[in-house]
C-alpha cells in the first residue's frame, strides 16, 4: 500500500501542505518535488528519470502533466518514452486533466476523488488516472 505522494512542482506547495495537514486522517504524506529533487530539471535529467526514481522509492505521483501518460500519442499509435517509463517502473500516476486549473481547482480535484486515488494506491502498479473536477478517469496502461 503506497502511503507517500510525490507532488510535482507545477501542482504546487500549497496543495502539498494541505494534503499533509490531514495526514492523520488519510495516512498519506505528500512530498513536494522541488524538495525531493531540487536538481531534477537540470540538463541530462528528464521525466523518465524521476518517474523511475519515485516509483523505486515506493511513492505515487501527482502531476499537472497528463502529457507524461502520452494518451493522445497512444491514440495515434505512438507509445511515448514517458508512458513507457510509467509502465516499466510500475508507477502510480494521478494527472490533473487541465493544466490551466487554479490551485483551488487542483485541490478540489484531489479531495473530490481522494477515495479512488487511495484505492489505486493500494493496487499494484502501473496505475494511472486523470483527475477532472467532476470526473475520475482511469487510464488503462
Amino acid at each position: 500500500m503506497i502511503r507517500d505522494l510525490y507532488v510535482e512542482n507545477s501542482v504546487g506547495r500549497a496543495v502539498t501542505e494541505t494534503i499533509n495537514r490531514f495526514t492523520h486522517n488519510h495516512g498519506v504524506t505528500a512530498h513536494f518535488q522541488h524538495d525531493v529533487h531540487p536538481e531534477m530539471q537540470r540538463p541530462q535529467q528528464g521525466d523518465e528519470w524521476w518517474i523511475a526514481d519515485i516509483a523505486g522509492r515506493g511513492m505515487g505521483i501527482l502531476t499537472q502533466d497528463a502529457a507524461i501518460l502520452g494518451i493522445r500519442q497512444e491514440a495515434q499509435g505512438v507509445i511515448t518514452a514517458e508512458r513507457r517509463a510509467v509502465i516499466d517502473n510500475s508507477a502510480h500516476v494521478f494527472a490533473l486533466g487541465d493544466a490551466k486549473y487554479t490551485v483551488w481547482q487542483k485541490l478540489r480535484c484531489v479531495t473530490t476523488h481522494w477515495d479512488r486515488i487511495d484505492a489505486l494506491l493500494g493496487q499494484p502498479g502501473p496505475r494511472a488516472a486523470i483527475l477532472l473536477l467532476s470526473t475520475f478517469r482511469v487510464e488503462h496502461l
Binding site: N9, S10, V11, G12, R13, A14, F32, Q33, H34, P38, M40, Q41, R42, P43, Q44, Q45, G46, D47, E48, Q64, D65, A66, A67, I68, G70, R72, Q73, A75, Q76, V78, T80, A81, E82, A99, K100, Y101, T102, V103, W104
Partner: protein, 237 residues
C-alpha cells in the same frame, strides 16, 4: 559553430526517436516559433490553392511527424520550423523550396533543415559543400547547385539557442533567447514550455498570476525562481 557542424554531420544517422514523437498541435507550434498557425500548417502539410484558375498544390517544406488535426508536430519539427522561419525572413518561399528540394534530391538528405546549415545571401540559400585548396566552396541550393567560393557571410545562428546532450541530440530549445529562462525540453513535462532551471510549466505560473498570486507567492508555491516567474508572466502578457 563547430558544434553545429558536428551535429549536422551526425544528425541524419542519429535522429533520436524521442525527438520524433508528435507532441504539439499546429497552434502550439505557431505560438512557439512566432508564426501564424496557417503558415505552420502550410509548411508542415502543404497547401491547395488556385493559380491562374487552375488548382495547384504546394508540397510541405518539412516532414511532419504527426497527423494533421491532432498532435501534428514533433520537437524536431519545431526546430525545423524555427529554422525555416528564420530563413523566411530573408528569402522568398520559392527560393527556400528550391533549396530544400535540391538538397533532398541531389544530396539525399531527408531533413535538410536539420542536417544542413544554410547561409541566406541575396535572397538565396547557400550551404557549405566542400573544402578545396581555394577555400570552402558554397553550393547555391536555390540555384540548382551552382558553386561559389565562401564569402564572409555571417547570418544569425539561432541554433546557439539549442542545448545538446552528450550524444549531440538536440533536447532543449531556449525559444525566446538564452537571456530568457524559458525552454522547451523534449524530455521534460511532455515537451510543454517550462522554466529553464526549475522545470515548472509556464501555464502553472500564468494560472496563478491570473488568480492574483504575487510573484513571491508563485515562487514559493512552485519552486520557480523570480526571474523565471517574471519571464513567464511577461510572455503571457
Amino acid at each position: 559553430m563547430g558544434r553545429l557542424v558536428g551535429y549536422a554531420d551526425a544528425m541524419d544517422k542519429r535522429i533520436e526517436q524521442r525527438a520524433l514523437t508528435p507532441r504539439y498541435t499546429i497552434s502550439e507550434a505557431a505560438v512557439l516559433i512566432g508564426r501564424r498557425a496557417e503558415a505552420v500548417s502550410r509548411w508542415s502539410f502543404g497547401h491547395e490553392r488556385l493559380y491562374k484558375g487552375e488548382p495547384r498544390r504546394d508540397e510541405p517544406l518539412i516532414p511532419a511527424d504527426g497527423e494533421r488535426g491532432g498532435l501534428a508536430l514533433s520537437f524536431l519539427n519545431l526546430l525545423e520550423l524555427r529554422t525555416l522561419s528564420i530563413y523566411r525572413g530573408d528569402a522568398a518561399l520559392q527560393a527556400i523550396r528550391r533549396a530544400l528540394e535540391y538538397v533532398g534530391k541531389e544530396l539525399k538528405e531527408q531533413r535538410p533543415l536539420m542536417t544542413r546549415q544554410f547561409h541566406v545571401y541575396g535572397g538565396e540559400l547557400l550551404t557549405r559543400f566542400a573544402e578545396t585548396d581555394d577555400g570552402v566552396m558554397l553550393l547555391n541550393a536555390s540555384r540548382g547547385g551552382q558553386l561559389t567560393a565562401e564569402k564572409l557571410i555571417e547570418s544569425a545562428l539561432w541554433t546557439k539557442d539549442i542545448d545538446y546532450d552528450e550524444d549531440e541530440h538536440a533536447r532543449r530549445w531556449w525559444f525566446k533567447t538564452r537571456a530568457v529562462p524559458l525552454v522547451v525540453d523534449n524530455r521534460v513535462a511532455g515537451g510543454h514550455p517550462i522554466t529553464a532551471e526549475t522545470g515548472v510549466r509556464l501555464d502553472a505560473i500564468t494560472a496563478r498570476n491570473r488568480e492574483g498570486y504575487s510573484n513571491d507567492e508563485i515562487e514559493r508555491d512552485t519552486g520557480a525562481r523570480e526571474a523565471e516567474v517574471v519571464a513567464a508572466i511577461l510572455l503571457a502578457a
